[in-house]
Symmetry: C2
Subunit: 341 residues, 2 copies
């Protein structure tokens, strides 16, 4: 079924691995390309268990052009979902050139090989961070982009610009850019989930590591924002909902859509303390926390307008906060040390 | 004199070749790296005639990392002036991926090799196009950047962002970004000059090709702008002035300046018809023209604030409109077919 064959770069990662499951369940065939720098081959083995399918996987770095070309020689892809990239905001400030080289350079290499092979269908893993500081809420897809405060966000913005320019120049390209809000939770099996290396950068992996006893307490940065309880408000979305959004995006891409951009969020803002309470309820564990000063660059509130995705992709997030927390806790308690356990 | 050795990428090009002369006259040693895609080895031979110096030149493409590394193995550079890149706005809209790969990818490769070799001094050839549509005039260096309407301009913006982020992460880097306004004219010898391939993208090479009889007439795009005579106003700067600005920038870089950005312009706006008249006077040739509709993306007026460059670089453009036109005409009439004559 070559018309159904999707290359997933970064398919061993958190969102990538969940998306592979949803693609297979929706009837697609999948090939994974991943350099396993921030991910583990174990996640692919578990996806194979869950789906009861063998998944062809290439340990390839997107900076290695001949290796990418080899993969495109071996398979006739219908399209590509491009997840692969570095994603730690703080690290991106310390190692900007690496982030630009890996994220922007890797994307350009991939696009160039795709073009050479006549594959012009792409779903790109972007982020709400491209909106910068919100000028209004909820954030819709027409909100200005750019003005990101860190190299990680800038790499996402730059890749969006490249994709938009490519589509403007050649209407054979079909590109769906997905701007993620805050993915959390895990597959219901508890077999795969987010597996941060070192200190988690994101709230919920930190919360769950506190609950499981790996960290003593949570630091909450700022309780004086203009929000109901003073802590930062974000739009948390269950990773399985998010992954199903990718299946919808692949279908949209297949309809020869040109260049399209969609938010993937729930449209509902939750505060840090909302999340802590929901997680305590779901896990039955106490999550001690202390209030720390605001972090530079953080905004008070950020949540999505979901209208365009609903109308145009026919996709809407289904899972609530409790389900996000229950599923996260299942993964965390079954795998206290992530894939290393 | 390794402390004086400057690598000039794109040193065979229009601004690069003029800058090599000024560097040598100021006492620097120069190595040129150029892939000769948009330039000619003949220009380097003529620079050698003018300076009476042999210039080590490598025919190397910045997408070829091992070849760049070889050059850095052979010489101990004090710093780099990075001119190399594609520069045609219209072509960038038709071939965006090439522009991003060559300009952004090439810059990232260069920066990576520099970093590996401990060379962290750079002057970068940027453009006033990074300002997008002016929100106020004259354009000073604090004017917002980004919002460029074409891939060429976006590549310059992206490279500026990368450089700024690199300097923020590591204060061993010294980077001077130079934002050019509209370079025109030629070296006084008439031996080197701007040598566009095909139809010139810029006004003055077109004007001079009309004067020399290579093209029947000039198209003036728009005579209904809010300017004194209705035609577009730009800040034309003599390429020798511009080149001397690079020598000043190299000195600034050597003072361990961190990340700095300077406009290189005259601060004086001239209309298309001003330029045509000045060129007719300088050349004694008639330049017939017709008025055409405005081109999308063009702005009415654009000129520089030159205060910061004057104060901080101690540099100011010296040459007037007549000298720009006289020198351009000398080059054009001595070399009616550019370096191919």
């Amino acid at each position: 079924m070559s018309g159904n064959l999707i290359l997933v770069t970064g398919g061993a990662g958190y969102i990538g691995s969940h998306t592979v499951i949803e693609l297979i369940e929706a009837g697609y065939d999948v090939v994974i390309l991943d350099n396993l720098v921030n991910s583990s081959f174990e996640s692919i083995k578990r996806v194979e268990e869950i789906t009861n399918r063998k998944i062809t996987t290439y340990n390839v770095d997107l900076l290695d052009v001949p290796a990418i070309e080899d993969v495109f020689q071996k398979h006739q892809f219908f399209g590509v979902i491009h997840f692969a990239g570095l994603k730690a905001v703080g690290e991106s400030c310390r190692r900007p050139l690496s982030y630009y080289r890996v994220n922007v350079g890797g994307a350009m290499n991939l696009l160039n090989v795709m073009e050479k092979n006549g594959i012009r269908n792409l779903v790109f893993s972007s982020s709400a961070t491209v909106y910068g500081t919100p000028k209004y809420l909820p954030l819709d897809e027409k909100h200005p982009t750019g003005g990101c405060t860190n190299p990680y966000g800038k790499t996402k913005f730059v890749i969006e610009e490249i994709l938009s320019d490519i589509c403007a120049a050649d209407n054979n390209w079909n590109v769906v850019v997905l701007r993620y809000f805050n993915p959390v939770g895990s597959h219901v099996s508890g077999k795969i989930g987010e597996d941060p290396q070192g200190i988690p950068n994101n709230l919920m992996p930190f919360v769950s590591q506190v609950a499981v006893g790996k960290r003593p307490e949570l630091s909450v940065y700022g309780d004086d924002y203009d929000t109901p309880d003073g802590t930062g408000v974000r739009d948390y979305i269950h990773v399985v909902d998010l992954s199903q959004g990718h299946v919808a995006a692949v279908k949209r891409m297949a309809s020869k859509c040109g260049f399209k951009t969609y938010n993937l969020g729930t449209g509902v803002g939750c505060s840090v303390l909302d999340m802590v309470k929901a997680f305590e309820k779901a896990s039955g564990k106490k999550v001690p926390y202390t209030i720390q000063p605001r972090r530079p660059g953080d905004v008070g509130s950020c949540y999505a307008s979901t209208t365009l995705a609903a109308e145009d992709l026919g996709w809407k997030a289904q899972k609530d906060l409790n389900e996000m927390c229950v599923d996260l806790w299942r993964w965390q308690s079954m795998n206290p040390n992530g894939y290393r356990s």
